[in-house]
Symmetry: D2
């Protein structure tokens, strides 16, 4: 048993369906995912140690000094992502990269945020050396989406008091993906706060079992049946709302309190952003590859690869993967040294993430199109094939797919497109970094090319001497 | 208890997960839907008798003589469809309309199919007078979709022997939607069979409990929790494969045996097709209205109706409903008398069905877009609101949606887009009448306007005297 | 020669390319279209008199009292639209229906707008009895689209002075489609004006030759070559900006001056809106049918109807026509009597128009897809077939398309998708009633179903007794 | 005057509208483009010599030995492409790269194609040293698209006789883009020919003025007005059909005659394919950047950048450019040495080209959406602004766009989306390498990942030990 599994019993208050969960590793909603994480952590100490770690720590904690370092990180992420079909978006590498980014850039940040340097150094080393898992919660509860970034609201996490020991906070943060499984929670703020919203402008890194912190889970999508629901049984990373009941955050863990500029500086820190987005793009590739592989399997086993429209779907899935790969590769190659850290180019990462929101939806639609009503004609279970031998015969397909394999492949495909976990992922990929309509708009707003295009547009006319 | 519910125990062989289900009404996978059907049947004898029946029989058995009769049928369908969010696509009206159509057109059909007239008259009267529920199974198992309509295959339902009592058949038929709940199975053939495929060219109407017939169900999507899963708990109509183990079909129930022309004539009978498609379009309207209503509720409760793109989504959902309504209305108004039966215009019904395959997908996408990540931030259950009073406060929304109502609305929306039942419906609406890519192609092929357009194209040139 | 053609010389100030056009009927930019209109007007007095007129006046002037009257109007519109491929969107029926609508509803409007009844009666009778052509200009120049409806702007048409004779106005109105060809200009206001914008809130109906009014044309898309450019040579209806240089509008022609409420009342008058939109939907059908016919011709002559994706495109074009037809038919059937006038249901017309903006773009894309690079391999002219006999042989196709016919068909298709006139139509269909993104949003805003859906959404929850 | 311009009078038989064009540089249909090419050639000998040439020859003739060489080629292409908005797709670099590729790979090709090595060496050196312009014609006339690659047809270019001097050929080839302007024609074959089609399996490189060769042009899209039609006046590169009237091809210029395998080997030569596709992707980037710049200019000058949907369009255009850039960059970085030549990775280039077919259509749609009806309200010409001073005032916009600049920008935008040249480009980008539906299908067919995905799909199941 890993140390991590023992730490699950550290007193964290995980709520499910109105009840406090005392034994996470045995609870229906969590046990499959606990096994998965356990497996991944064992890879790190076992056969995959060299690929996954650097000087004893997971590569997500490495401060990259070169393109080569970025590639090592990429490979480490890819191994875990491939082992989980890209379905575990928050295996801590993402949040660890934020921590690592802040640590790597601590001098520059420390110059404007008092005490930052010493605090982040202590926190980072503790996380790294103890191999702690973490997640980030940055958003307010969706109450009124249209106004969520301009008004203060009873539900928003805010400082209600400052004491000698620390700050006392009340309110909620979301989406704390994977929260029941992690050791540390990074609390930050997605939106730029105004002066009137000072109370909301905070950044903390706290242990998951901090008194007064409640991890309230959404409905579980976990299944008990790893044979027929191969994804739902193992990869529901869970999403949670964090409710703070006048929790005391000790000063040591308070990176920013009531300081809009400092909170925004951390949230948009180029090193932390570049490193964490780098990870999300690597995971995206695994997921798109899984979708492509399933689509291929379905098409071959149903023998429909002769149709032009099916080939078009498959070609599109290949092109998706190559496009995101090219954007990742180019982000790395055009990366640059920032305060001594080698970081990938965020423009290409941003494009990759924006495209990802579309591509996954297209991938799911391709599985629909190719699987078609055949997905509803799959035997309910392998038992069916025993009881009704006709099924065995009828359901056998070409290309080496006997009826058992074909049943399992269809089940896997259905778990992607037909389970609640699958539906959650369709939403997640589209919305995890906010509403894409507004993200696209922001992307435009901040893009450095904007100026270049305007100059081009006016130069066209200048050339004509007008 | 209705007679129908008693008939569930008539010995039909319903298989679920490798086991024979002996008490359907109490089985987890079926009991919610049994309640729903019971409720609908009680409406018919109770408060809604006048709207739902004609001379004691359900209006789906009425042979329409006028536009007025079609409108009465429409209203009857709409009442049941509205009561089930349009989620029950096979509440027997569809298959009953096929039976009614054959009955109504029995003289013309009987002129070319020996014994047809007497047989269908007896069957129809029995179904109508005993208020039997039924379903249709027309397709072969999807083995190799690309070849399924050209080759004979071990799994296809075929005549293996003829005896004095009837024909003995072996093989499978699908998709038998709602089969566990019905009294009668209409077995027909989706594809035109060649002479070489004579053995496949059959049409029967048989009792669900006929010896040798096995109803093998797909994985159940039913939930036990009607509060949090309002659709899955009540409306999983189930899909099944019918496996025939050398079942004997008595001659009285054999409408066609080994006769490609006759089987195709029944499958494409204009009266049966027009009446049954008429019903599917009415149900489609209920479903699209439900989607629109949920999207409205989500948009209002999340207060995002100020965004242009949200309004566009909502406007689109309204236009969908109006478009399908207009096609239905026009199909009725341009209907015509066919051998004494007043039938709606199939061209407009066909267009409505083709559009429906797109529209439902757009509707689901609209709920995604509007609900966004908020759908994953819904409290796991109403209990949550009790245990964490903060939730109650945070989750309350404008427009009279308190936190309980908003939670329930989000749950309902999620059941549409995030449950396995929801995913099944997304597939169903797109594929229930075959692959839309090929349907569109066929639609083109058979369309009477094809000729008109060619004439127009050449007339353009003729006018120029070339 | 028609009276109309003589009236072209009435002194109207038509500007083209910086010059005043004195002989419109002979000018390169206008002469083809003058011929076309002349032909249509001759139809009305000649062979098609019965179908096109009622008691001597064109049917666009008929005040409809019944569904039957609407159908007569529809047929009259269809005849002219078919004769021009639906490319002439403003053959006056549209603007005449606005005038007819105001006239038909004059009592109700007159009750709130002083002198309205007498004025519109005189104007309408004059237009009807003299068979005058007209157009509408309702929009301000696009200066800053985002602010155009909230701010007053130097370029906007406004009252600068009132005198005993009438009002003196300055500024511009657009898009005055077909203005060079018409006798009367209906000047109205697309946006609701605020009190601060009183000067902009005017409605006039003026002769095209009113002193101080300048009709400034856009670049012409007319061709001289009716053989190779069959649309551009005959159907460029032209768009123009109207510039008013302190023009005096006599009181008799001033329906509203500086009165935001009254101007808005006329702009949104249900009778005028319903009748004029009725006409636009009829024309849309002709245009979509033309696109479908050309697509069919291309597909047949290039022998590509065997491809699934080509059939899908063709099926889609058929469904477009049927959908718009169904919406038109339903708008008529669910029409109702309004102050004694039988008007079609605007909801279905609105949906038809909104869909039209999408459908035409899809139609053009279908011609692209089907014609493909073949459109660029068409002989430059019929002469080519004489000079290079090889072309004659190579370019002959199946289905009775010899090389001459095929060349002409491809030229016609290219005129739809490759000429400037074609491009103008692509823009026109999408934007003629404003930005569709905002139109959709408005459609949502005003839609009566909005309330119904909200009630449905809340009733869902009410049923559950919460 | 360049040598090239003199060579235009070398006796080539260019036909336009049924007439032989004797003075190309002065003919309406060609003179603007002649000026453009002249300008580009002067850049090469003048100020841009260093960027455009290597050892006296244009960089398109360089055999690349390294990544660095590829980057030099890229830069040279970009300079010409930027100078022509990416509208000149066939400035010979494409066809020169094919020639260069065959030359670079001559040893390997010569090993299987007799005499190839010596012939290509002579041809290449002549082209390079004399700086000849060229184009490729590979396709048969579109007669029956669906059968064009399986049947022999009267119109197809074929060997009719072999003599001592060479082969005599008859028939047509297309699309010979830019043919009137070039010195050499590369005749090859797009489809794999069967043994029965031996007569069609030829590859030649011939001078444009070879006796018996006729260059028959499509309709010209050239304008005379460089101020108002800035693209059409300068960049109509023309498309032509080549008709061979029993032309004698001397053996020296016959690379392949009647040899399906050899013709296919040349057509699919990895070096020639990689180098020529490399150029097309560079040009694509220029074009997408031009579209983006124009869209930006329109949005800013119409002041609509505040709308979410406009920002989304603009963000999308930026992402397009970054995506294609990333694919190009990755194709270069993952390039490899092939027989001593450093060639880019064709997979990423292929994806870039496939995406390009979609992206350009999206770009055009974005200009439509943003320009909207404003594009039809542009003054017909700058003269308009003189004659009607009101226009000057009304049409002035923010962001430094006075009415003259804004008029010119709108004209430029209209030339992209509203001129026949613009329409030709919309078709060209989509279809220049064949029907994208079939290209996508082929892309799937040949893709090396296909196997990997299947292995992944089956490994999923293998892991589970089934």
């Amino acid at each position: 048993m890993t140390d991590w599994k023992k730490r699950l019993q550290d007193g964290r208050r995980v709520w499910y369906g109105g009840e406090l969960v005392t034994r996470i590793a045995e609870h229906h909603a969590f046990r499959g995912t606990v096994q998965t994480i356990e497996k991944l952590l064992n890879m790190q100490t076992g056969a995959w140690k060299r690929e996954l770690t650097h000087e004893g720590a997971h590569l997500s904690f490495l401060v990259p000094a070169s393109l080569e370092d970025l590639r090592r990180k990429e490979k480490a992420y890819k191994i875990w992502a491939d082992a989980t079909f890209g379905m575990m978006s928050r295996l801590s590498e993402y949040s660890r990269e934020i921590e690592t980014g802040w640590y790597a850039n601590r001098k520059a940040l420390g110059a404007v945020i008092p005490h930052f340097e010493a605090k982040i150094e202590r926190i980072y080393r503790n996380s790294r050396d103890r191999d702690l898992l973490s997640t980030v919660a940055a958003q307010d509860l969706q109450r009124n989406r249209s106004r969520s970034n301009v008004e203060v609201d009873a539900g928003q996490l805010r400082v209600v008091k400052k004491t000698e020991e620390g700050v006392i906070v009340r309110g909620a943060k979301t989406v704390a993906t994977a929260a029941p499984y992690v050791d540390e929670l990074i609390i930050t703020s997605f939106h730029k706060r105004s002066e009137a919203q000072r109370a909301l402008a905070n950044v903390f890194i706290i242990p998951a079992n901090l008194p007064g912190v409640h991890i309230v889970c959404r409905e579980s999508f976990a299944s008990d049946d790893a044979v027929h629901d191969p994804l739902s049984a193992l990869y529901d990373e869970m999403d949670a709302v964090l409710i703070f009941e006048d929790a005391l955050i000790p000063w040591d863990l308070v990176l920013v309190a009531e300081d809009p500029d400092a909170a925004w500086k951390l949230h948009t820190d180029p090193v932390a952003v570049a490193l964490s987005q780098h990870q999300t793009v690597v995971r995206l590739i695994s997921k798109l590859q899984s979708v492509a592989a399933i689509a291929y399997g379905l098409a071959k086993s149903a023998d429909v690869t002769g149709f032009l429209h099916v080939r078009n779907e498959l070609a599109n899935l290949i092109m998706q993967v190559e496009t995101i790969e090219a954007l990742l590769r180019t982000a790395q190659h055009t990366g640059e040294r920032h305060n001594g850290v080698f970081i990938p180019n965020r423009l290409y990462l941003g494009t990759a993430r924006n495209l990802g929101a579309r591509y996954y939806a297209e991938g799911i639609a391709a599985i629909h199109q190719i699987g078609a009503s055949g997905l509803l004609q799959t035997p309910a279970s392998l038992e069916e094939l025993e009881v009704h031998p006709e099924w065995r015969e009828y359901f056998a397909a070409s290309e080496g797919f006997n009826s058992t394999k074909r049943t399992l492949l269809n089940k896997l495909a259905w778990d992607f497109v037909g389970s609640s976990l699958g539906a959650r992922h369709a939403l997640y990929e589209r919305f995890y970094s906010g509403d894409p309509v507004r993200n696209f708009a922001n992307y435009y707003n901040q893009h450095p090319r904007q100026q270049a295009y305007m100059e081009f547009a006016t130069s066209i006319l200048r050339e004509e001497n007008r």
